[in-house]
Amino acid sequence: MSELNLTIDGQVVKSQPGLSLLLAARANGIDIPTLCFHDDLKPEGHCRLCVVEIGPPGRTRLVNSCTYPVEEGLVVQTQSEKALASRRMVLELLLAQAPAAELIQKLAAEMGVYETRFKKADPQARCILCAQCVRTCREVVGVSAISMAYRTPKKMVATPFKEDSEACIGCGSCVFICPTNVIMYTEKDGIRTVWGRHFELQACQKCGTYIAPKAQLEHWAKITGDPVESFFTCRDCR
């Protein structure tokens, strides 16, 4: 398929069709801040930080650049007053929602927002409901052990019935992906504890270093069809 032309911040750029405005901008050295976007996950476009202003003068509107597709002749402004004002407000709202989230403080400060005029939630709160943990568990790991529960007044990431999630394999991908360090795991004496469950860690049969929870290796074995023992050797020892 042939490339198309669009204008980003006054610059005419070429882009492959099917790309999002965000990726097209990045390919041309223009960065747009994001929170819920991750290269390995299907973009959901709900944090609303990546908004850009599109359209002809007098008839513009804001759209989130992570899902809006490139169009021939589209005029995009990534730093317009309207877009910046919305980004600042989104960050100000998140400062109130997750006062302890360092990433938010950093992004907000970069845009000149140092405090929030809104009532703050629990001072220790860090979750910004970006849902990267939920989406990773569902799309990448494939077990969907956690999900978004409730609606606005109580919306939260939770295990089913807020009890131990039987589907969890202890892989810790959610911990790794979380941008604001909400989810934690601890490891002690060969046991990893995450989301309230304890997972026995499997040691490498050759060198003895811990590889991953046994449950996680069993999950991989089920997917590939290989015997689970084949996963009991760490990468370095292979």
Partner: protein, 156 residues
């Protein structure tokens, strides 16, 4: 304790597909008066959806309750017309009379009290429903009389 028979009756009505998750949950809610945890785990297995999806759906939609609802469900309308005609005061009166918070059931599970966004009979505001019965043009002083037959009925 899973009521396997009742659950099977419901599951056989629908094809085992994720598209039928909400209708299945609706039938379970209607049958059991709430969504029991163990039944939901079985549903996840039968319809081949992750338990997390079942839990998300069960907590997202207002009609579903993870706690048992009362034998008689009182819904007080707080739609705009009803709000303007004293809907809030009506809820407070019922709540006080029965000793139950909105969104919960009485200790003995006789009544549960909910507010609804709109029952669609706006010209008869303020409105409330007890089970299938509508009570229009309500006033706080009508409440005791209306509740009485339901209270007595369960005592017999």
């Amino acid at each position: 304790m899973i009521n396997q028979e009742k659950l099977d009756t419901i599951l056989t009505r629908y094809e085992a597909s994720s598209a039928n998750l909400i209708p299945v949950l609706q039938d379970i809610q209607d049958e059991f008066n709430y969504l029991p945890k163990d039944e939901l785990k079985l549903v996840a297995g039968k319809l081949q959806v992750p338990l997390t999806q079942v839990y998300s759906v069960a907590t997202f939609f207002k009609m579903f309750s993870l706690e048992p609802k009362g034998r008689h469900q009182i819904r007080v309308c707080l739609g705009t017309a009803c709000h303007l005609r004293g809907g809030q005061r009506l809820v407070e009166t019922v709540s006080r009379r029965l000793g139950v918070e909105t969104g919960h059931a009485t200790q003995d599970l006789q009544f549960s009290l909910e507010t609804v966004g709109c029952l669609g009979s706006c010209a008869q505001a303020p409105l409330m429903m007890i089970d299938d019965k509508y009570f229009g043009r309500m006033a706080v002083d009508k409440v005791p009389k209306i509740l009485k037959p339901y209270k007595n009925q369960d005592q017999d």
